[in-house]
Subunit: 338 residues, 2 copies
Amino acid sequence: MTMRVRIEDVAEAAGVSMKTVSRVLNNEPNVSERTRQQVEAAVEKLNYRPLPSARVLAGRKSYLVAMLFDNPSSNYLMEVELGVLDACQAQHYNLMLAPLVYDAKNIVAQVESLIVQSQLDGVVLTPPITDDAGVLKRLDELDIPYASVSAKEANRRIGVIVDEQGAVCAMMAHLVSLGHRRIAHIKGHPAHGASNWRLAGYREALKRAGLRYDRTLVVDGEFSYASGYAATNALLDLKQRPTAIFAANDDMAAGAICAICERGLSVPRDISVCGFDDTPIAHQIYPALTTVRQDTREMGRLAGIELLREIRERSSGSIVDVPYTLQLRRSTGPAPTT
Amino acid sequence: MTMRVRIEDVAEAAGVSMKTVSRVLNNEPNVSERTRQQVEAAVEKLNYRPLPSARVLAGRKSYLVAMLFDNPSSNYLMEVELGVLDACQAQHYNLMLAPLVYDAKNIVAQVESLIVQSQLDGVVLTPPITDDAGVLKRLDELDIPYASVSAKEANRRIGVIVDEQGAVCAMMAHLVSLGHRRIAHIKGHPAHGASNWRLAGYREALKRAGLRYDRTLVVDGEFSYASGYAATNALLDLKQRPTAIFAANDDMAAGAICAICERGLSVPRDISVCGFDDTPIAHQIYPALTTVRQDTREMGRLAGIELLREIRERSSGSIVDVPYTLQLRRSTGPAPTT
DNA sequence: CTGTTAGCGCCTTCAT
DNA sequence: ATGAAGGCGCTAACAG
């Protein structure tokens, strides 16, 4: 039975006092570089990790942050979570997962109770909670630092974003270069800011390409496979079908491909399809999906880093812009010649 | 800004010692009924709530359990995690996520350090850590309660299982009833017990159907999409192709479908494909995948419940058998008539 | 720059 | 049945 390694043991191993070890652990100033390295070596060697309860009890901080999310079963959130976890572990913070039931009626109360009961030092917000005015207001009132992942423009203070509108424009340009002129768009869930940006990018791209905006080609969706499937069936019933479909996320694009195949049509020969996110499903369907990749895990990590920075030193967290990349795969091809 | 109410304040208000208040709070014996009521009244009046950190630091329990896992980006684990979270929240325990690098060399040390440093009250094990003899041995030595999700038979003490062999047999019977005689199997990752059960079920089913075991029809895989794709290409290169492919999980089945489509063949007209797990991808690919469904979230929840039961009262946790169901979808059909 | 001395709020052990 | 003293592991405040 191994005994727990305490700060005292690290101090002894490094030949310094407990307090000096504590300084190093908390990135406090007034430690010489040499001493810092000695302490870090000892921490590494003994594999020391501070006991959260003791820190909380002695100090004023809880070293606990939570990630707030709504729809728990999405690949997107899983990836973000792992990234946030990376950031927290690197700085010896604990991460609490807070699955919320996104119900406008009591969401604010849920959040407040969570923060007070658990003594949270800060929270990471994910869509669509990033854009709930009530939650944001209460967070400000409680003076709790928070970082948002892909918040709407108006709500951005600290966190990460991707230039989604630019990404959509770039993807649309690709479709246009393939000869497509009738390009449809399946919108995302209206509560998510991403839905707006992606739609904005779609319209912007049409304008740049000199194509007119045809509202019959823009249909509602809600980010789910089923909604993409339904939306595509509506598009296929049109007198004049689109030659390409840009779905606001991969799941809906997968649903679109299914609907197209079921009618005996071929992707991309008859209709090209592209998505957004580059979730695992993108390369696990046939044909592999052309999509926009955003590094969600990295986004989570950066959001975590900015949050912790803000917690450590107020007003020092910022917005980080994470680059996107186009993943051109088999689901897009030249427009059919009519 | 009010000062925090401490146990001392309650003691004073009730006219007793701190320890007596503590006894009442923890339902310990040796408190007269009259005293108990006085204390409870004081607690109520002052709206006192014990501070978790202080409790953990002073006591021996941490109210913290961890879920150990290896491959973080799998739908399977995400679901299990949510289930475990359900169980923990219901009993006011905290869940810590422990992504491990499964490297036989230091996995035991990683686990030990995690447990000791974080003062874990128990852990939930997921495959393949469930079957790492070194880890299990050390867990027993440390006398740390643990619950396993789908452990190998020999390692089952507390946790949840599914009759995977029976499930595979049932699915195979379905294929046989569709007229298939040349049925291939893509094996799972060798370190996972599930791979063995599924292979065993495959052989068992062949025997029951009076079909001979043809080793050229059984190929290696490792649960990844890419491995399913590669394995299927090998099968399609055979002089005598299979008419059905049973992949040990859904990701590999998706890879199989892709490989088949790429050769211009059709699923299920030329070849039927089925998988295992019923992860989201199963109904997000075309054609929708016939597969075995196991309720992974429920499995996580039950594993959490059994673990907490064991923590509360030793030797009271047990093994729970979770039922499976066959999901018959479009990827399987009648065997082609030769 | 570094070390010493007190606790943080609660539970444990050992008295009474 | 109850209480007093001591410490859990860490950090804040104050020395040097």
